[in-house]
């Protein structure tokens, strides 16, 4: 979900300059690690996908995030990002938040219908992503992981005054939420990353690794 919390991502990146990559190779410390072009397990490792070309995975330690979520990017989180939600259980939320936080992302419940999940995602963008406008473009049924899933398309205007577009394909499987999200700047990056997203979604398989 850190792809969505873009401003926070920038802040953290600026705050930790010492953590940038050393030598640009596999050793040293980097905020990103390479996603290679073969089947890999994501999130809590209950879902596997294969990307059509190399992507970059954020290290999970930098951001407050839940272990069921994994974030990728191709050109940096301000421009594009793909996120995986894997096996989120009822009563949990997409992002870590304090009980006393004034504005909260609603918790997931296993009996949620697609419009309710869509509303939860919208609140995530508005509450944590700083979206000032969020428009649902379409919500329709789409099989995912062998279940009756859904596809949500939307666009949002963020506080950096950039319009971004997003697509979520997801399903509730055995009471747990599985989703793949794409979020990219409407100009260029959306079109440039959508085929990757579709390939990843179509490659998604359940099963622990």
């Amino acid at each position: 979900m850190k792809n969505i919390v873009k401003i926070a991502a920038v802040g953290a990146a600026l705050a930790l300059p010492a953590c940038s990559s050393v030598g640009g190779d596999d050793f040293g410390y980097s905020d990103y690690s390479l996603v290679r072009v073969h089947r890999i397990y994501v999130g809590d490792r209950s879902l596997s996908v294969s990307a059509p070309r190399p992507w970059n995975r954020h290290r999970p330690i930098m951001f407050e995030d839940v272990r069921d979520v994994e974030d990728w990017t191709l050109n940096g989180p301000m421009l594009d990002g793909m996120s995986f939600v894997t096996g989120l259980q009822s009563g949990k939320s997409l992002i870590r938040q304090r009980r006393t936080t004034t504005q909260q992302v609603p918790k997931f419940r296993s009996d949620m219908t697609p419009p309710e999940i869509a509303a939860m995602i919208e609140s995530l963008y508005r509450v944590r992503g700083g979206a000032v406008d969020f428009r649902t473009l379409s919500l329709k049924p789409r099989p995912f992981l062998g279940a009756n899933g859904f596809q949500l398309d939307y666009e949002h205007l963020d506080e950096d005054e950039l319009w971004r577009r997003g697509r979520v394909v997801g399903a509730v499987v055995n009471g747990e939420l599985y989703m793949v999200l794409l979020d990219a700047a409407k100009l260029h990056y959306w079109d440039a990353t959508l085929p990757d997203f579709e390939a990843v979604v179509n490659s998604a398989r359940l099963g622990r690794g």
């Binding site: 006393t100 004034t102 219908t113 509303a119 508005r126 509450v127 049924p141 859904f150 506080e159 005054e161």
Partner: protein, 407 residues
């Protein structure tokens, strides 16, 4: 500068620290400013002549240019024209010089910049119950300009702060002028520490309150509405904090505004002092609702989806004091649904059921009513509700999903 700088500056202090601290005036007891003593210090067509003020205006012109071109502005000619007319009415001698912009930010705030342009947040329009209240906030902001508060506090600060801090602040204003992160209300309010540039003293805020009360009373609005706004804001913030189990900070030594209680008390005394017995005052509620009616669903939507149930519920109930309708009942249901605690599904479904009984129920109320009925195992009624939704909104983005449900 802005209606609720106290809250914002506390936040920016926590976040930014440093520069803002130099500007803080600690809690000094203040005497109430009498509205009748508030004489405008600028006339129509005011232009600066002194060098420092000229420089400040130049910077601010850049900021205005950025704001005027921001795509966060709500470009509804009816509403923006209405705001222009309003500031043209309660703006005192400078009324015709003011510019006013409406930004889509779901927070309660409005601010006046030193060159005479104001930015009103859409969240303010949601919270005002009538035209008199909106006029009150705008008149308060006009008061800051008419009493030349920006340049007075700017000079005051330059005297107190070291030159590097001032330089950093100006750089911040310039950076803000580039339009970065304008949408975050804290950022906009700061415009790169702009708040700390124009940190008003308690006395100045008291002046703006008194000036505002005078301006609206002169134009025929009931001056007591100024106090009502403040009462509503305090109520909302208390409700929000209480819900999340927090205690609000009240009246600390860092407060630059008059403390809540004394501000409210002063506004009430102001109102009773300038209300002329026998004179007819009109809050123009009908005209207000007719003007913002078209964007009210959007305003409610922006607020409720922030999932701040305490504040949203308080706001809806406050607006409902003027009568419940389908729109308010629907959003009451949305507050419960997003809150998502045990039993909230039942509460939400009751609100949706109540909403659809009103003729003005929005299409979305029918959809959520249908979903609630479906979950309750009442498929026939759910189908009827979905059918109604699709009739009202045939091009609904989720029509494909709803059609599948409606079978």
């Amino acid at each position: 500068m802005c209606w609720r700088c106290a809250q914002l500056s506390r936040r920016s202090l926590l976040v930014g620290g440093g520069a803002a601290a130099a500007a803080l005036h600690t809690g000094v007891a203040h005497a109430r400013v009498r509205p009748e003593d508030m004489v405008p210090l600028v006339g129509p067509g005011y232009r600066p002549t002194e060098r420092d003020e000229l420089g400040l205006w130049k910077e601010m012109d850049r900021v205005e240019e950025e704001i005027a071109g921001s795509n966060l502005l709500i470009d509804d000619p009816k509403v923006t024209g209405y705001l222009r007319d309003l500031i043209g009415t309660v703006g005192g001698p400078a009324a015709k010089d003011f510019r006013i912009y409406l930004a889509r930010i779901p927070e309660f705030n409005a601010m006046m910049f030193p060159t005479g342009f104001a930015v009103v947040f859409s969240g303010l329009l949601l919270r005002m119950r009538n035209e008199a209240q909106l006029a009150g906030v705008i008149a308060h902001e006009s008061g800051h300009f008419l009493r030349r508060h920006m340049i007075r506090s700017w000079r005051d600060q330059k005297r107190k702060s070291d030159i590097f801090a001032i330089g950093a602040m100006l750089a911040g204003v310039g950076g803000a002028g580039a339009g970065v992160y304008l949408g975050d209300y804290v950022q906009l309010a700061q415009l790169g520490t702009i708040l700390s540039l124009f940190q008003y003293s308690r006395a100045m805020e008291a002046e703006a309150d008194a000036m505002g009360a005078k301006l609206i009373a002169e134009t025929g609005y009931p001056p007591m509405e100024m106090a009502n706004i403040w009462e509503q804001l305090i109520g909302e913030e208390n409700a929000s904090a209480r819900y999340r189990g927090k205690h609000r900070r009240k009246g600390s030594m860092f407060d630059t505004h008059p403390s809540e209680g004394s501000r409210l008390a002063d506004l009430k005394v102001d109102a009773s002092e300038i209300t002329i017995p026998g004179k007819v005052y009109d809050n123009h509620r009908a005209r207000y609702l007719a003007t913002i009616g078209s964007i009210r669903p959007m305003l409610l939507d922006d607020q409720v989806k922030l999932n701040d149930p305490g504040a949203s519920q308080y706001l809806i109930e406050t607006l409902a004091q003027d009568g419940w309708n389908g729109l308010l009942r629907f959003y009451e249901g949305e507050v419960w649904r997003l809150r998502n605690r045990d039993g909230d599904d039942v509460r939400a479904s009751q609100s949706y059921a109540a909403a659809v009984a009103y003729p003005d129920a929005p299409a979305d109320a029918w959809r959520w009513h249908g979903i609630a009925l479906m979950k309750q195992g009442r498929p026939a009624e759910a189908k009827a509700a979905f059918a109604r939704y699709l009739t009202m909104k045939p091009d609904a983005p989720d029509a494909a999903w709803v059609r599948q449900m409606a079978g």
